[in-house]
């Protein structure tokens, strides 16, 4: 009865009008020879690791003291900020000296780091004195991978609102089109449960959602003729989203239990560690059950609006924002750092990075302990990248990313690698090629591409 126009994006996703092509079902089982498929997860924490290569002021740098050249095997003991990663260090490539996007302030790097481009600018808006939101200027790497691998990406984040509109976004389907992550634990579990669990009244809810979406599509058709041309295009795009959502209704459970989420406030700073661990669990479940192959776990606005009131988890009890701590760590005032001494900021800064790496380690542990389709650890077939928008001291120099897992994809961990100011773009190209997209030879702005980094 319903005319389902197949959109360009649906075709790109390989979805037709057939009910079998549901984005989050196990619609891409292991390849014909039973080998697991390549997967990618980004783990994004705010600001930078703060410590520079050589450290200073009583803070240990990340560069192993014995390191001379570009590359070195992981030392017997990792620098303090990486201490939670000791058990995983042989699977981690410590990628240091990355350089941020040129011509963009440190507060906008988060919006740029996965697109490899500057910020999208809406010129009439800016000239009239408004900021607009700031958005990425192209498709981000996670969206490119998802699109090419024909999966729907899973994004999970602590609430992304922050100091300025736009700072909370790192994933974009195209220029000026942010991809909004799920921001509550209840929603995250819902998303990967696929409506299969036995909840009372679930059949009514599913039937209702189906009816509602059908009616929404009908409403859009009813008004299309009356609205402006631009509005019609926007409504078409809305209709595409509705169609995609319709296809996700009533999926049977794939038989992998994600468990039951606890009931707690996903928007409170106190709960961030618990939230991120639960997100890690959801993400691993989604990968293991073949719901997706690409995702990200994000610790909210990456310019650092979170407040580590985490005495229960990490003995951290600071009501300062990550941003304020990173400002003071760098010896700078402002940003709400009043009342915070530089010495304390250094302590807090290191403790905070340790906490982030502990949450990252939690993700790696779960991936290591969960089998892929052939029994090998998920981690070996998944490239897990801990990304941060800034580097040393809240600046955009000396950015360090951690590339973990992916052993079966050729990622060679267990070493520190200094890339001497190469941009993220070179990493993104290497990543795309690692998961099999050999035709991707350039990404983002051209002048930030040199050559793919050698991850193997």
């Amino acid at each position: 009865m319903n005319q389902r126009a197949i959109s360009r994006r649906q075709l790109a996703l390989g979805l037709g009008a057939s009910a079998a092509a549901l984005p989050f079902l196990r619609s891409f089982p292991a390849s014909a020879d039973g080998r697991p498929l390549a997967k990618v997860v980004f783990f994004a924490s705010p600001t930078g690791f703060l410590v520079g290569p050589s450290g200073g002021s009583g803070v240990e740098g990340w560069l192993p003291s014995a390191m001379r050249g570009r590359e070195m095997d992981v030392p017997a003991r990792l620098p303090e900020v990486f201490s939670p990663l000791e058990e995983h260090k042989r699977d981690i490539l410590f990628l240091g000296e990355l350089r941020g996007i040129r011509g963009v302030g440190s507060h906008q790097q988060a919006v740029c780091m996965l697109t490899g481009r500057k910020v999208y600018r809406n010129e009439p808006e800016r000239s009239a004195g408004g900021d607009g939101d700031f958005n990425g200027d192209g498709e981000s790497i996670d969206q490119l991978l998802a699109r090419r691998l024909q999966v729907a990406p899973l994004g999970l984040s602590f609430r992304t609102n922050g100091f300025q509109l736009g700072e909370g976004r790192m994933s974009f389907t195209e220029a000026n089109r942010p991809f909004t992550p799920i921001q509550s634990i209840a929603d995250a579990f819902d998303r990967v449960s696929g409506g299969g669990s036995a909840m009372p009244g679930l059949d009514v809810r599913l039937a209702r959602r189906e009816s509602v979406l059908d009616r929404v599509a009908g409403d859009i058709r009813a008004i299309e003729g009356r609205v402006s041309m631009a509005d019609r295009e926007r409504l078409q795009s809305h209709l595409e989203s509705v169609r995609t959502l319709e296809q996700q209704i009533g999926m049977p459970s794939a038989g992998c239990g994600a468990g039951e989420p606890g009931s707690y406030d996903s928007t409170s700073h106190e709960n961030i560690p618990r939230l991120i661990r639960d997100y890690n669990q959801v993400m691993v479940h989604a990968l293991a059950c073949g719901f997706t192959r690409v995702g990200f776990v994000q610790l909210g606005n990456l310019e650092g609006s979170l407040r580590p009131r985490w005495s229960a988890d990490y003995g951290l009890d600071a009501n300062f924002t990550d941003h304020a701590i990173s400002h003071k760590f760098a010896g700078r005032t402002g940003a709400g750092s009043d009342g915070l001494s530089e010495a304390r900021a250094r302590d807090l800064g290191v403790q905070l990075q340790v906490a982030y790496n502990d949450l990252f380690a939690d993700l790696l542990t779960r991936l290591r302990e969960t089998p892929d389709v052939d029994g090998s650890p998920l981690l070996d077939n998944t490239v897990v990248v801990h990304v941060k928008p800034q580097g040393q001291n809240h600046s955009t120099s000396n950015i360090m990313w951690l590339v973990a897992g992916g052993k079966n994809l050729g990622i060679r961990g267990g070493r520190f690698l200094r890339v001497d100011g190469r941009h993220h773009n070179d990493f993104h190209v290497a990543l795309a090629q690692t998961v099999g997209l050999s035709d991707v030879t350039s990404f983002g702005r051209g002048d930030h591409n040199t050559a793919p980094l050698e991850l193997g």
């Binding site: 302030g105 009239a128 408004g130 958005n135 059908d214 009908g218 959502l245 005032t333």
Partner: protein
């Protein structure tokens, strides 16, 4: 062939035959109409000689406040907490400097709106059904009444039939009560609810295409009341109240006199003065207390409401009036005895909102002069300083003003901000404050300002007086109100209209209520651009 395809085909035809220059005549379905360009020069004479134009209206969805207030029309009591949390997680966009959501919705946001609709549908349906006796008649009434209210216009019969079919199918399987919830969920999920569709009449007149009565009633209601039009307004629209100039003006004045008009006014000033951010300002002053930011906000909003409701609702009054409404906590900051209601302050130290604690406190205590100066430059002079460089080094006042590249921008901001150097971070007047690093002044190294504004300023009182008598300041404020009302930045097609509005604002003596009326009754407020169709 659609109009658009025909236009493309014709332009390809012209190109193929070697035509050059812009293609600016269009063949519409029913004959020709020339596309109207705005004049090159924006001045009253040239603008008056040019037919009116208006910029294109990007499709916007309801903001959080508009959504909240519209739900209040169909649901008594506060919004359920879970629903409100979810609504707050769907962030508003920003256009023209104010909350306005023109960005595209991705799947996750659509899903959030659907979840929100699910959460609200139960209580709304239950409330409606409480007054029903017969299920079938209830279903019809629900569809028509809530549909009309939520879509801001009556549903066409064909729509009613479709919704009724959905209800009947659902009721057959799950019963009437669940079916009613489904109807409400569908209404709340529809783009007709979520978006400002602003439908127009069929024909254009020159470059304008008039909104239909419901479209105009909606635009006015969302501007003045930050809410969908209530039944009274919808009925007025149906009765032809918005069909004539006089009718529109009468309705607008009536709306402005309604207590709900305070919402629109408060929404403008809360954003313009950045009052929402007060509780995030870091502050460990011993004289402070957790309730202080809220008290500051309340004082300023009460003052504004009082001025705008009084005999001189002008910009000048807002800038220069030396009375306010400091409650207990603020009375201490002012150094006056705590008292309810209006308090007369010392005019030599207090002049308008620029000397309110809310303004003085807003920017923290690290070099507040920079930010106080930047705010005045941006929001009262419409000459914003360029953004700071990517890496801002720590520098004291003297070096900011004497070394490059800092001095280029700081020479504009800091001296202006030093006008307030006698006021500490909580807004207290400090008689023997340290001398500032530069003489307080309005400085204009790039010749962007009216020369009569430029020069030393002895303090906020003189600053306020100088700003209050400036035409440029009035134009600046008028332009911002216009952006707020339209929910977007202006384009070249709006500039003549903005000029007209600002000239009227000046001629009225800066009467802010009359400015609101002028905007709401302007010929372009009731229209969209014909080129959009």
């Amino acid at each position: 062939m659609t109009v658009r395809m025909r236009r493309l085909a014709v332009s390809v035809f012209l190109l193929a035959f070697g035509c050059t220059g812009t293609f600016d005549a269009e063949q519409g379905e029913g004959g020709e109409h020339a596309a109207v360009r705005p004049p090159e020069v924006i001045d009253p004479v040239t603008c008056a000689a040019t037919p009116p134009t208006v910029g294109a209206t990007p499709l916007r969805r309801l903001t959080q406040l508009q959504y909240l207030n519209t739900i209040a029309l169909v649901l008594d009591g506060p919004m359920p907490a879970d629903a409100e949390t979810r609504l707050r997680s769907i962030l508003d966009g920003r256009e023209g400097g104010f909350r306005s959501s023109a960005g595209v919705l991705d799947e996750e946001l659509v899903r959030q709106y659907l979840a929100l609709a699910d959460e609200l549908a139960g209580p709304i349906a239950a409330q409606f059904a409480a007054s029903c006796d017969d299920d079938s008649r209830c279903a019809d009434a629900l569809i028509r009444t809530l549909g009309r209210q939520l879509f801001r216009r009556p549903l066409a019969e064909a729509d009613v039939v479709e919704y009724r079919m959905m209800y009947d199918e659902f009721a057959a399987e799950f019963g009437a009560s669940d079916a009613r919830v489904t109807v409400v969920a569908a209404l709340l999920s529809s783009p007709r609810f979520l978006f400002h569709l602003e439908e127009t009449q069929e024909a254009s007149s020159g470059a304008l295409r008039a909104l239909d009565a419901y479209g105009l009633a909606s635009r006015l209601s969302f501007f003045l009341f930050q809410s969908a039009p209530d039944e009274t307004l919808l009925a007025a629209a149906e009765a032809g109240a918005f069909d004539t100039d006089a009718g529109i003006e009468a309705e607008v004045r009536q709306m402005l006199a309604d207590p709900r008009a305070a919402r629109g006014i408060e929404h403008f000033f809360t954003q313009w003065l950045e009052l929402e951010g007060l509780s995030d300002v870091p502050n460990d002053d011993p004289a402070s207390s957790p309730g202080l930011p809220a008290a500051m906000r309340l004082e300023t909003l009460t003052f504004i409401e009082d001025v705008l409701g009084g005999s001189e609702p002008s910009l000048a009054s807002l800038l220069t009036a030396s009375y306010s409404f400091p409650n207990d906590a603020l009375a201490e900051l002012y150094g006056v005895a705590p008292r309810d209601g209006r308090v007369d302050l010392d005019p030599s130290t207090r002049a308008g909102f620029l000397t309110h604690p809310s303004f003085l406190f807003r920017f923290g205590d690290r070099h507040p002069e920079i930010f106080r100066g930047a705010w005045v430059l941006s929001h009262l002079l419409c000459a914003p300083p360029p953004p700071p460089p990517p890496e801002v080094p720590e520098a004291d006042s003297a070096s900011r003003l004497s070394t490059q590249p800092c001095a280029t921008c700081h020479s504009m901001m800091d001296p202006l901000g030093f006008t307030f150097h006698h006021y500490d971070a909580l807004g207290r007047f400090v008689e023997d404050a340290a001398a500032p690093a530069a003489e307080p002044a309005i400085v204009d190294p790039q010749n962007r300002l009216d020369p009569s504004l430029v020069g030393p300023v002895s303090g906020p009182r003189e600053l306020a007086a100088r700003l209050a008598t400036s035409d440029d300041v009035h134009r600046c404020v008028s332009d911002q109100w216009d952006r707020f009302a339209r929910g977007r930045a202006e384009t070249e097609f709006d500039r003549c209209e903005q000029l007209e509005l600002s000239e009227r604002f000046i001629a009225s003596g800066g009467d802010l209520r009359e400015l609101i009326v002028s905007i709401a009754t302007s010929p372009t407020f009731r229209a969209r651009s014909a080129s959009e169709y």
